[in-house]
Structures are given as structure tokens and as C-alpha cells.
């Protein structure tokens, strides 16, 4: 049916007036996407191409900008700090994406149940997402401080700690992940809520008649039917958290030592502190390649046997 509709919309060919109509048909359709393509070209595509170009130059904003071929990439691949930053980034991205893909499902399921004040809770749960990174960072630094943080103070009252959440090399990335979970889970929660509302209720009714109960329905109906949404959330979260910057920048400044030093943090530093734009953009290009590779892997393995 769909293909027949599409075919019927195609313009006629083979005659002079048909060619004119074909041209008009294409122009008319492309006109709709021109504004987007224009903005995309100016604000996305051109910077991407410019970054790619800059990565082959010793580009330091002021002064001469000699072409140096792959020298920036060579330096990067032989740079210990790049590998430290990449390791931390991969660790953070996978841990945070895993948390932000799974935890919001259960919160969305809970908030999808009918109860009084449900919308207030949805708002409250979503609210941290609208806070700026600096606000979240400052609040978390106060909360999680080792000596004077409120969390450690409360733990101390029950004889636990103090725990160096953001000052311990082993704990810092998990702590930043949990902070990010609190901050950002509103968005995947909304996506899941939208997905949940699309699952037909009669499937649950049928399952109920067959004797299925809470967890069984979640496991055998809700989660399988949410798989396309889960894949979407997993992919977007991974892409997003590979680009982590604000949390280490505001909360830990890359420390302790270099244990929360991430790729974008390093890129920012190279470009805006060392003024080495060429070197910084080489990092951006490599990170984009890595993100693309992981995204393709996700689609390859996560996209199979989707149940719509």
C-alpha cells in the first residue's frame, strides 16, 4: 500500500511537460529541506571540514600555520596522556551509558503506573536535566567532599567513611557516572515513557489472563517491546558520554592525578589553554572515528532481532 502511494506521487516522465513537472516536483520537495541543509552546512558541516583541515596544520591561532601532514596524529598516538584520557573516557562512557540505559527504564515503568501526583514526580525526576553543568558540579562538590561534604557527614553519623568519592583514583569515574545518572536520566526516562505509552494494553491484559504478574510482564513484554527504544537510548547515550567534559572540568579538574582526565577535557586544554588548535582538532577527529566505530558495533549487535 505504502509503495503504491509513493508511486502515485511520482511525477510523469517521457514528455516535455513531464520533464518540467519532474523538475518542479524535485525543486518543490528540496525547498523544504534547504533551510535545514543551509544551517547544517554553515554550523555543522563546515566546522567539521575545517577541523579536519586544521588537524593537518600547526595551527596556533596567531602566527604562521605550516602544513605538517600527519604530525599531529603521530604525536597524539605516541602521547601517553592521550591514551590515559581515552581509557578514562571509554570507562566513563560505557559505565554511564549502561546506567542511563537501564535505570531510567525502571523509573519510567514506575512513573507509567497510575497513581496520584504522578505528573509532579515526573517533573521532579526530569528537573535535574535542565540544570547547567556548573550548577550540578558545584552542588556535587559540596555534597561529596571528603572532609566537609554532607554525604560523608551523614555517613559518619552511622560510622561509615569518610569516603573519598571524587578524590580516589578508583572511585572517581564511578562517582562521576552516578552524578551524571542523577543529572541526565530525565531525558532517557522521557523517551522510555513515550515508548511505554505505545505498547498496546491488550498485550498486558492477555498476559494477565495467562497468569503473568509484575516482573514477568516487565521481562517478557515491556523490555522486549522497548528494544528499539533501548537501542536508541543506548546509542545516543554512548555518543553523548564519549564527549564527557563538564563533569571532570567542574568537579575534579581531571584529577585526582589524571584519573578523570578525558578526551574532550584534553582537547579543550590543548586548544584553549595551550592554543594548539591543530593538535586539538586531531583529537576531535580521532574521537569522532572512535565514536563512529562503537556506534556501528552497537547497531551491528544491538540492532538484530528487533521486535516492533
Amino acid at each position: 500500500m505504502l509503495s503504491r502511494i509513493r508511486l502515485s506521487l511520482l511525477p510523469e516522465k517521457h514528455s516535455a511537460s513531464g520533464t518540467w513537472r519532474t523538475w518542479k516536483w524535485y525543486v518543490g520537495n528540496y525547498a523544504f529541506i534547504v533551510p535545514f541543509m543551509l544551517l547544517f552546512g554553515i554550523f555543522i558541516l563546515r566546522p567539521i571540514l575545517a577541523s579536519l583541515q586544521m588537524s593537518f596544520f600547526r595551527w596556533e591561532i596567531f602566527g604562521p600555520k605550516p602544513f605538517i601532514g600527519f604530525e599531529n596524529y603521530d604525536e597524539l598516538l605516541n602521547d601517553d596522556l592521550w591514551w590515559v584520557a581515552l581509557r578514562n573516557t571509554v570507562y566513563f562512557a560505557f559505565l554511564t551509558s549502561a546506567l542511563l540505559t537501564t535505570v531510567p527504564i525502571f523509573i519510567a515503568i514506575a512513573l507509567n503506573m497510575p497513581f496520584r501526583g504522578r505528573n509532579v514526580f515526573r517533573t521532579l525526576f526530569f528537573f535535574p536535566y535542565v540544570l547547567s553543568a556548573s550548577v550540578v558540579g558545584l552542588v556535587m562538590r559540596w555534597l561529596l567532599g571528603q572532609q566537609f561534604g554532607i554525604v560523608n557527614h551523614l555517613l559518619g553519623t552511622v560510622g561509615v567513611g569518610p569516603i573519598p568519592f571524587i578524590a580516589d583514583s578508583e572511585l572517581v569515574i564511578p562517582s562521576l557516572s552516578v552524578i551524571t545518572l542523577w543529572w541526565a536520566f530525565g531525558f532517557p526516562m522521557l523517551i522510555y515513557l513515550a515508548g511505554l505509552s505505545n505498547i498496546p494494553q491488550d498485550i498486558y491484559e492477555a498476559a494477565r489472563i495467562d497468569g503473568a504478574r509484575g516482573w514477568q510482564m516487565t521481562r517478557y513484554i515491556t523490555i522486549p517491546l522497548l528494544r528499539p527504544i533501548i537501542l536508541f537510548v543506548a546509542v545516543t547515550q554512548l555518543i553523548s558520554h564519549f564527549q564527557v567534559f563538564a563533569q571532570p572540568y567542574v568537579i575534579t579538574n581531571g584529577g585526582p592525578g589524571q584519573d578523570s582526565f578525558t578526551v574532550i577535557f584534553y582537547m579543550f586544554r590543548a586548544a584553549w589553554t595551550y592554543f594548539r588548535m591543530g593538535f586539538g582538532t586531531a583529537m576531535a577527529v580521532l574521537l569522532a572515528v572512535i565514536i563512529m566505530a562503537f556506534t556501528l558495533l552497537q547497531f551491528r549487535f544491538g540492532g538484530r532481532r528487533l521486535e516492533y
Binding site: F62, G63, E75, T123, Q146, S169, W272, T273, F275
Partner: protein
């Protein structure tokens, strides 16, 4: 759904209000004059309030000028914004940095020559009244003086006298050697049973008062280098951080935590607040004055101790410096120069922020009753202050040794200085070679 909207809008407005309020606090406008100056600085702490007063006084004295002052965090916002402004050809009329950034920005060709601000070139600032060390640090290879110093700040030692009393040590005790410093820190470090770190019964797992701390690694590192007549590079462009003497010197500091238990693990340790509660000696800069005077009841400021070879009292020094962009011209340039001259003359007013002034006569005329810390630090810096070596990519070099020390100091004693300095040395050498 109504509930959703109402709660959401209330929360959003609340968040927006907090953000706008925070932003407003760091932007100030003074005067109504037709010549409008934009002044950027990184004075986001209490010293920024002192600067607010100075700018206000300047506009009152110069009614034809109005000034918009924007304060941004030094490390995280200031340089990206300044660089973007300079690159876009739209910089502030006046911007504040340090002396050690001069070479880097001057190499970019964005700074205006300010030699004509000094008396030897007919300017209003008597050049003989400015510390020669500061003038040297602001002079480029062509003999041009590229900035006007606001102050002459640096490293020193703050004591919490109540904590000294608790340990039975006079508050004005100042070590003159490393061994003396260690012993002093051991006397000041107390466990829950009241034993100090020299006692056989001392319980290192139950420390309630710390003798000292390791903080902001760069000034401590540069002071240690200066006191041992060393540097991170020589004049031939050779990085020197593999020098065993440098590694040993910094290892001594790490051992204060890892061997002697007189300093807490630095990562996450809030030294400012600890000074008012349980840390007796705070090695820190002159800029801590506002915090100390407001939060510590009985305190004392002393010169940084001589912990190097042969009682060398050298101490890391720095200066806040006014710079003008190269494209400055016309009325705004003239008004900017008036602003700089005013600020140079107002060094004693600025010293209320705790920063010793840049002018020698002002340092020498500081009343200890009025300037209890700035007078101490200023006199010591004038005699022993040593500025850091400059380089056209100083910011990148500084990050290498600072990162190396962070890796060691914040490793919970698992990484030593010998583990990190060779790598930092190689990285610095690569940077030096890049610009040879």
C-alpha cells in the same frame, strides 16, 4: 498535566534566577562617562571586591570615563574568552594577567608596548620605584616593557595560632632548614590521644590535627627549585626535570604525607577550611588574606621558610599585570593609560586585598597594623622573590610539571616523584624542541 506544568515552570524560574544572580555578581559597571572601557580580569575571589572599589574610585575621579568590569575564573573561562576576543579582533580595552604569560601573548603579537607608561620614556610611573625583577619579567627581547604591574604577590606561610597553642609551640616559630620544618610539623601533628608525631605512641590512623599540607603544587615546586638554584629548563632549551636533585626535593614534600604522616593526602582535602579547623601551617599565597582574616581567629603570616640548600630563602613570586591589546587607539587608549597609572598609584588600596603592591615605596610604607600579612609577604618578596621562567608556550609547559606532581601527590603514595618526572621531562623537552 497542570501539576506538571506549574511545578516545572516554578523550578525552571528558580534555576534561572540563581544563574542570573551568579552572573550579575561578576559583572560591574561604573561611571557614566562617554569613553566606555571594558576591563576583564580573573579576580573572582574576595580580591575582586577590592578591585570593584578601586574601579569605582577611578570613575569618580575620571567622570569622562565609564568602566564595565567582567570577572571570569582564571583557569577555566578567562583564557578561552580572552583568546577568542583577541582572535576575533574584539578584545577588552584592558585585561589583567600575570607576568609569566607575557612572553606567550607577546609572541602572538597581541600586546601593546607599554614602555611609554614609565618615567624613562616620559610616562607617569617612576620606573625606579618598581621592583627591577618585575620590570625584567615584563621586558621583551627588544627591550619593550609590555605591561603595568598591579601587585607583587607570592608564596608565604600562614599559621593558625590556636592550633600552635594546642601543640605547645609558639606561633611565630619559623623553620630555617628542612629538618627543622619536619620537626615542627611533627610537633604540630596531633592524634586523638593528644600525642604528637614525634611520640612513640602517636597513632597515625587517628590524626585530629595536621601539622602542614601540600597544596597548589606549582608555587611549592617553583619555590623549591629556586631555593636549590634549579629550574625546569636551562637557557639552552634543555629540560631538567630528570635532575636527581629536583626529584629528591619534591620527594621530600611527598614524604611529609607518605612517610612522616604530618600532611593529609592532598586529593580532595579542603585546606582553606582545614586551616580554620585542624591544620596548623598553610603554605599558601598572599591572596589568602581575606579568607584567613575572616575565618581564623588567631593567625600569623610569616615569610616562606628556607627549605633549600644553604639557607636559601628564595620564594616564588608573581605579579598581576595590566595589558592593553595592540589595536588600542584614540580616546579609549588614552583613558586606558589613565586607568593604568591610577591603579599603579593605588597600590596601597589594592593591598587591602592582601596583595603586596608593585611599587617599592608602597611596600616600604606599609603599616603592619593596617597590612598585617601584605607587609610581611611584600618585604620578603622584594628581597627574595623569584619569577618563573617564561616561554612562548608556558601554559603547556606548566601543565606538564603540574600534572606530573598531581599524579604523584594524589596517588595515595603509590606513585613516586621518580615515576613521574622523567615522563614530564620528556614532554617538556618535546615542547621546547617544537619552538627551537
Amino acid at each position: 498535566m497542570n501539576n506538571f506544568r506549574i511545578v516545572f515552570v516554578i523550578l525552571l524560574l528558580l534555576a534561572a534566577t540563581v544563574g542570573v544572580q551568579a552572573q550579575d555578581d561578576l559583572v560591574s559597571e561604573f561611571g557614566t562617562g562617554d569613553i566606555e572601557l571594558l576591563f576583564w580580569n580573573g579576580l573572582t575571589g574576595p580580591d575582586g571586591e577590592t578591585m570593584v572599589g578601586l574601579v569605582k574610585a577611578f570613575t569618580e575621579e575620571n567622570p569622562d570615563v565609564s568602566v564595565r568590569m567582567e570577572r571570569l575564573n582564571w583557569t577555566q573561562q578567562y583564557f578561552p574568552k580572552l583568546l577568542a576576543g583577541l582572535a576575533a579582533g574584539n578584545p577588552p580595552d584592558i585585561f589583567l594577567m600575570h607576568e609569566y604569560e607575557m612572553t606567550q601573548f607577546n609572541t602572538m603579537g597581541v600586546l601593546r608596548d607599554l614602555s611609554d607608561m614609565y618615567s624613562n620614556n616620559g610616562g607617569p610611573i617612576p620606573i625606579d620605584d618598581v621592583s627591577p625583577a618585575i620590570i625584567d619579567s615584563l621586558t621583551d627581547p627588544n627591550g619593550r616593557i609590555m605591561g603595568v604591574p598591579l601587585d607583587f604577590h607570592g608564596y608565604g606561610e600562614w599559621h593558625n595560632c590556636d592550633l600552635f597553642d594546642a601543640a605547645g609551640v609558639p606561633c611565630d616559630t619559623l623553620a630555617t632548614t628542612r629538618d627543622e620544618y619536619l620537626e615542627l610539623a611533627q610537633r604540630l601533628t596531633l592524634d586523638g590521644n593528644g600525642n604528637n608525631a614525634l611520640s612513640d605512641d602517636f597513632d597515625a590512623d587517628n590524626i585530629v590535627q595536621w601539622g602542614t599540607s601540600i597544596f597548589w603544587y606549582r608555587p611549592g615546586f617553583l619555590t623549591a627549585l629556586a631555593q636549590n638554584n634549579m629550574s625546569w629548563a636551562d637557557d639552552m632549551g634543555q629540560a631538567l626535570l630528570e635532575d636527581q636533585a629536583i626529584i629528591d626535593t619534591m620527594q621530600w614534600f611527598q614524604d611529609l604525607e607518605c612517610v612522616h604522616s604530618v600532611a593529609p593526602p592532598p586529593a580532595g582535602f579542603d585546606r582553606y577550611r582545614a586551616l580554620s579547623i585542624n591544620m596548623a601551617i598553610f603554605n599558601h599565597g598572599s591572596w589568602a588574606w581575606n579568607f584567613v582574616s575572616q575565618n581564623v581567629e588567631n593567625w600569623m603570616a610569616l615569610p616562606y621558610p628556607a627549605l633549600g640548600a644553604e639557607g636559601n630563602s628564595a620564594v616564588w613570586a608573581s605579579a598581576h599585570v595590566f595589558y592593553l591589546p595592540i589595536q588600542a587607539e584614540g580616546d579609549r587608549l588614552e583613558a586606558s593609560k589613565r586607568f593604568l597609572a591610577y591603579m599603579s598609584d593605588a597600590g596601597l588600596d589594592w593591598a587591602h586585598s592582601g596583595m603586596p603592591p608593585a611599587r617599592i615605596s608602597q611596600i616600604e610604607n606599609m603599616d603592619p597594623e593596617v597590612y598585617p600579612s601584605a607587609s610581611v609577604f611584600g618585604a620578603n618578596l622584594l628581597e627574595n622573590g623569584v619569577f618563573d621562567r617564561q616561554h612562548r608556550n608556558w601554559l603547556e609547559i606548566e601543565a606538564q610539571y603540574a600534572d606530573a606532581m598531581a599524579r604523584a601527590f594524589e596517588s595515595e603514595c603509590e606513585v613516586s616523584m621518580a615515576d613521574v618526572f622523567p615522563e614530564a621531562n620528556a614532554r617538556i623537552q618535546r615542547i621546547l624542541d617544537r619552538y627551537k
